[in-house]
């Protein structure tokens, strides 16, 4: 079934309207590319056709980009760089033929045009863009670890100059119509229902059309090469910025910069396009693009659409939410829920505390207001939905109550029972605990089937992850309702089973504890922190420890020991370091300092006292080894969680590791990391570290068996 509606009018102007019958938006699939290519050839050869207007039959959108699914399996199919380059050459060819066939092509961009969609229009000789604010344009390929392989790295700089084009491709940000016009990406703005007629009018008055870069004597605006005025800022500075922002793990930004630099200097755009296709091939055949696309787009997309919600239950919604505990977490939950249109009853032991919790919403949204991203009306409406009180009776009618009180079983038991005395019989009770097993807490509940864990992340208004923890008795219906609530809160949910630390906290602890272990071994603290950044962790383990606080961590250790948990859940390797820090009074950032000093004015710095209490060993390890160690210990713990059935879905494990605890995106997540390095190599790394650093690295029989058989967490596609 064709996606193109083509009509030729009395003046010989052809209107090509793209309208994919299979999808709500015109995704630039290989099939659509081929169709367009054939259509352009036909129109070019047709003597009655004087010019072409290209538009979309989908209101509000032109083309949103290519099909990520086409790309994702490329790496897994073993696509070579040369093959991947050839795929870019194909699309380039279609566009190049269109722009050089001698007939004028005008794009009537009636809605958003991103990635290959924008690239298609850049090959047209004229662009009219809808003036609707949602009609954004951009080249976001960098966000999936790719580059614009349909000529974007060569046409956009030739159109608007390298200095303006490069940042757009390095950030991948969408550009609104007014800015698109100002930058020179498009020639004209018009109301969406007039873009076609304006485009047509241009075609009529421009029977001969040539791209600027095909005209003899053409020079790229702003100049090219290392001596251009912008070169130091764009390239010299830009390359350093890439290292700072991405460490050495993400190849796309450098590839974009290289394609632009090398391609812009080459005299001919055809050479530039060849260069672009080679760098595209390098990226698409590489594993990082696959990891980013698979976890951050495809699997996160499924999670956001509640892919793991039990399907047999009808959709539910929370209209009235109870939040017990107006501290940082409770206040944050209330803030997000109120913005989602949910009435919130925010309860604390004192009215003062409850009021402060409510005020948090005002403060948080005031910051958003100052950025122009919200209106005062919406702030007032949100605040209006929050009732701050000490009175549990107000919980009447709440379909869901979340407790975010002290991490103490006694306190939690008390509030659970108080709340359940008032809550509707059918309501769900959730705990925001980050460590206390749900099944144990559920014992305080009169309705354990309706008890579940909803672990939010701080700050709640900014962290997208929600770890949904299923207790022993939690029903599937409760799970379904909890997922529906996650959807209302616009969070990305993962579903895990019960256990100490559940999933995210368990894995996170191994990261910060490994930093503590390294310190105890005499590794230089700066080396530990830098190694973490090399791995792509946003913050080093020692800095992260100070945020969590040694004080809280020590409490957790003592509680775990008191609860008689297995030795491995009592943080045995890091406990001596923790104990020493506590004895020294170094309890964390909030307590005057931990591994770091936090001066009143100025940046934090590593506490000079560390050298005395954790003497440096004379031979320091290689930074690369430390980097691998930090990635390995977390991935190993994630694998253990998978083995023990704490997580049952590799995608959830990966999304949770990235969104919840900052595991580097380039890996695709903690389990994807194992597939990325290869499980045989991973197990070898574990065994090497086990011998050098301790048994916490010892891989289980299960994991070793998987290595023997080469089993992957994401099986490769079967050969057709």
């Amino acid at each position: 079934m064709t996606a193109l509606n083509i009509t030729v009018d009395g003046d010989g102007i052809a209107l090509v309207s793209i309208d994919s019958s299979e999808r709500p938006m015109n995704v630039l699939t290989e099939a659509l590319q081929a169709e367009l290519g054939a259509a352009f050839e036909k129109l070019a050869a047709d003597e009655t056709v004087k010019g072409v207007v290209l538009t979309s039959g989908k209101p509000g959108s032109f083309i949103p980009g290519a099909d990520l699914k086409d790309f994702v399996s490329a790496h897994d199919r073993g696509m070579s760089a040369a093959e991947a380059a050839a795929s870019s050459r194909k699309l380039q060819g279609v566009i190049r033929h269109m722009e050089s066939c001698g007939k004028p092509f005008a794009a009537a961009i009636n809605g958003l045009a991103l990635g290959g969609g924008l690239e298609l229009t850049l090959g047209c000789h004229y662009r009219v863009l809808s003036d609707h604010p949602k009609a954004v344009v951009g080249l976001p390929e960098v966000t999936v670890g790719l580059l614009p392989g349909g000529g974007g790295t060569q046409r956009l700089p030739r159109l608007i100059g390298v200095a303006k084009a490069l940042p757009l491709m390095l950030t991948g940000r969408p550009v609104k119509p007014a800015e698109a016009l100002e930058l020179g990406i498009v020639h004209e703005l018009a109301p969406a229902d007039e873009v076609v007629s304006r485009a047509r009018a241009w075609v009529l008055t421009n029977p001969q059309a040539q791209q600027p870069w095909d005209v003899k004597g053409y020079k790229v605006p702003g100049g090219v090469g290392p001596q251009a005025a912008y070169a130091n800022q764009a390239f010299m500075g830009g390359v350093a910025q890439i290292r700072k922002q991405y460490s050495e793990n993400v190849p796309a930004p450098l590839a974009i910069m290289s394609a632009v630099y090398e391609g812009s200097i080459a005299g001919s755009i055809d050479t530039g396009l060849r260069i672009e296709s080679k760098y595209f091939g390098q990226l698409l055949s590489g594993v990082v693009a696959r990891n980013l696309m698979r976890t951050m787009f495809i699997n996160k997309g499924i999670a956001d659409k509640l892919g793991r919600r039990p399907k047999e239950f009808a959709k539910s919604a929370v209209t009235r939410l109870g939040v017990l505990g107006a501290g940082m977490m409770g206040a944050g939950i209330a803030c997000v829920a109120a913005q989602a249109g949910i009435e919130v009853v925010l309860i604390d032991a004192t009215q003062d505390a409850a009021d402060r919790g409510r005020a948090y919403t005002g403060k948080a949204l005031a910051r958003v207001l100052s950025k122009g991203a919200i209106t005062q009306e919406r702030i007032d409406a949100a605040l209006g939905r929050i009732t701050a009180t000490t009175d549990y009776a107000r919980l009447e009618g709440c379909e869901l109550v979340v407790e975010a009180v002290f991490e103490s079983r006694d306190v939690k038991r008390e509030v659970t029972q108080k709340a359940e005395a008032v809550m509707p019989q059918t309501a769900i009770f959730a705990s925001n605990t980050s460590t206390l097993p749900i099944s144990g807490l559920a014992q305080a509940s009169a309705r354990p089937k309706q008890f579940i864990g909803l672990h939010f992340f701080s700050p709640v208004d900014r962290m997208p992850l929600l770890e949904v923890i299923v207790g022993e008795q939690t029903s599937q219906e409760t799970l379904a309702k909890a997922m529906d609530f996650a959807g209302q809160m616009k969070k990305t949910p993962i579903v895990v089973n019960d256990g100490p630390g559940f999933y995210t906290t368990r894995v996170f602890s191994t990261f910060i504890d490994e930093g503590a272990c390294m310190l105890a071994e005499g590794v230089a603290p700066a080396l530990i922190e830098n190694a973490a950044k090399m791995a792509g962790m946003p913050v080093g383990p020692l800095a992260q420890y100070d945020e969590v606080s040694q004080e809280l961590s020590w409490k957790i250790v003592k509680q775990a020991r008191a609860d008689g948990l297995e030795a491995r859940f009592t943080r045995p390797d890091a406990a001596p370091v923790l104990e020493k820090m506590m004895a020294l009074g170094r309890k964390g950032r909030r307590f005057g300092g931990g591994f770091y000093e936090f001066p009143e004015n100025g940046k934090k710095f590593l506490w000079p006292g560390l050298a005395k209490h954790f003497p440096l060993r004379p031979a320091q390890p290689d930074a690369h080894e430390l980097r691998t160690r930090l990635l390995t210990i977390q991935a190993l713990e994630a694998a253990r969680c998978y083995e023990e059935g704490i997580v049952t879905d590799a995608a959830d494990a990966d999304i949770g590791s990235i969104l919840g605890i900052g595991y580097p995106q380039w890996t695709g997540g903690a389990l994807s990391y194992i597939d990325t390095v290869g499980i045989e190599q991973f197990v070898a790394d574990c065994e090497r570290f086990a011998a050098q650093c301790g048994q916490r690295f010892a891989p289980s029989v299960w994991l070793k068996a998987r290595a023997e058989s080469g089993e992957r967490f994401y099986p490769l596609p079967k050969a057709a």
């Binding site: 290392p226 001596q227 390239f235 910025q241 290292r243 700072k244 290289s258 090398e262 940046k603």
Partner: protein, 400 residues
């Protein structure tokens, strides 16, 4: 065969800005004037010179197309004199001396004039572009960071405080001012003249005599911002035990941007007999090395130690050390490496006070230390410079 230094001259260093005295003098003129001075004050038959080797680090535009050969033509040298322009970044002119010395030692030339020229006010540093800083693939792979970041990294690793480096700078200014006052440079600095023969500059004009610690303390660290933008992160990749780079270098404790040219007359013994000129020093030996490119400026120590070892000499055999003051941390690190002191190092001040005309400095500081050896009636000097992309060049000379 031996290679002897018969004579050397330099122009004064003009401020490398539009208001600098030498801004009106084209670089080819600067080069021609030092070549002419060598000829005129020695009554030299230039047909005896076989090659002119000039260092120049931005050989484009006004400094393009082989200033070595073209300056020889412009100075009216015999047309049989060949010429070349070389680039080993900041060490270029010393490398030119070494190259000339090598030709003579090898018996392949009887006499050459080596030196360098750089008009930083007319042809800015970096004008030639180049892949090292601006070709993304190369810049990435080589862990490029600007030289100031390297200097600050040295200060961080070695523990030099802002006060330490500023103190070094104050002393350089003091020594240079003293040397000028006492006329230590008068034999070798030739005035630069304009087209109508008037003297445009006869003294180094970058100097700030009387500079105090307080003066320098007011200046902002020059590389804090580029560091923050990403170059500190690059440095930490190479040196991952560094918690943060301590940015201590400023315009006041780093080499000045200036204009200038220099030339050194090098020949064998037979050349001396043919011209009646007396050799002033022999070129005993020389070496260049590559060193870590990100920190960039740590080469002089290892290079000099390797050279001394090869020559069968020890650091104690050297009477005077002359090291280019690219940034204060550079000579400070060098003195640690060679176990020498301010007492015998850069005794008449250096580039912090007088400036560093990139392609010419190597020959200038060689001349400076040779004059000082003669003034003190001492014997042996070692001259060295760090160079971009992680290099260093060292030369040992011995008075006749």
């Amino acid at each position: 065969m031996e290679a002897f230094i018969y004579d050397h001259v330099r122009t004064p260093r003009g401020r490398g800005r539009p208001d600098g005295a030498l801004n009106e003098i084209t670089p080819i003129q600067l080069a021609a004037q030092v070549l002419s001075a060598i000829r005129d004050r020695n009554q030299l038959d230039t047909a005896l010179v076989e090659d002119v080797i000039l260092g120049c680090v931005s050989p484009v535009g006004e400094q393009g197309a082989n200033v070595g050969r073209v300056a020889a033509i412009a100075a009216g040298y015999a047309e049989s004199v060949a010429g070349q322009q070389i680039n080993r970044f900041c060490a270029s002119a010393l490398e030119a001396v070494n190259l000339g010395g090598a030709l003579v030692k090898a018996g392949e030339a009887a006499a050459v004039v080596s030196g360098g020229v750089e008009s930083m006010s007319r042809v800015k540093m970096g004008s030639d572009g180049g892949p090292w800083y601006n070709d993304p693939q190369t810049t990435w792979r080589s862990y490029y960071a600007p030289q100031g970041i390297g200097a600050d990294l040295i200060a961080t690793l070695d523990g030099y405080s802002r006060e330490d480096v500023d103190s070094f700078a104050v002393e350089s200014q003091r020594r240079a001012a003293h040397a000028w006052e006492q006329g230590y440079f008068s034999r070798s600095v030739i005035p630069v003249r304009d087209v109508i023969g008037e003297v445009v500059l006869d003294r180094d004009e970058h100097l700030r005599p009387g500079t105090s610690l307080a003066d320098l303390a007011r200046l902002k660290p020059a590389f804090a911002m580029p560091g923050e933008q990403g170059f500190d992160a690059v440095a930490q990749f190479r040196y991952p035990a560094v918690e943060s780079v301590n940015h201590v270098h400023t315009g006041g404790n780093a080499s000045g941007i200036v204009d200038g040219a220099a030339a050194v007359l090098i020949g064998n013994e037979a050349f001396g007999k043919a011209t009646g000129l007396k050799p002033r020093a022999r070129i005993k030996g020389f070496r260049s090395i590559g060193s870590e490119p990100t920190i960039m400026l740590t080469g002089p120590g290892p290079c000099s130690l390797q050279l001394l070892r090869r020559l069968g000499m020890s650091n104690k055999d050297i009477d005077l050390y002359e090291i280019n003051e690219a940034f204060a941390a550079v000579p400070m690190r060098f003195m640690r490496d060679l176990d020498c002191t301010p007492e015998n190092t850069n005794v008449n001040g250096g580039a912090i006070a007088m400036g560093h005309p990139l392609g010419a400095t190597g020959a200038m500081i060689l001349g400076t230390v040779l004059d000082e050896l003669e003034r003190r009636d001492q014997s042996t000097a070692l001259i060295t410079l760090c160079a971009a992309a992680g290099m260093a060049t060292s030369t040992v000379i011995e008075r006749i």
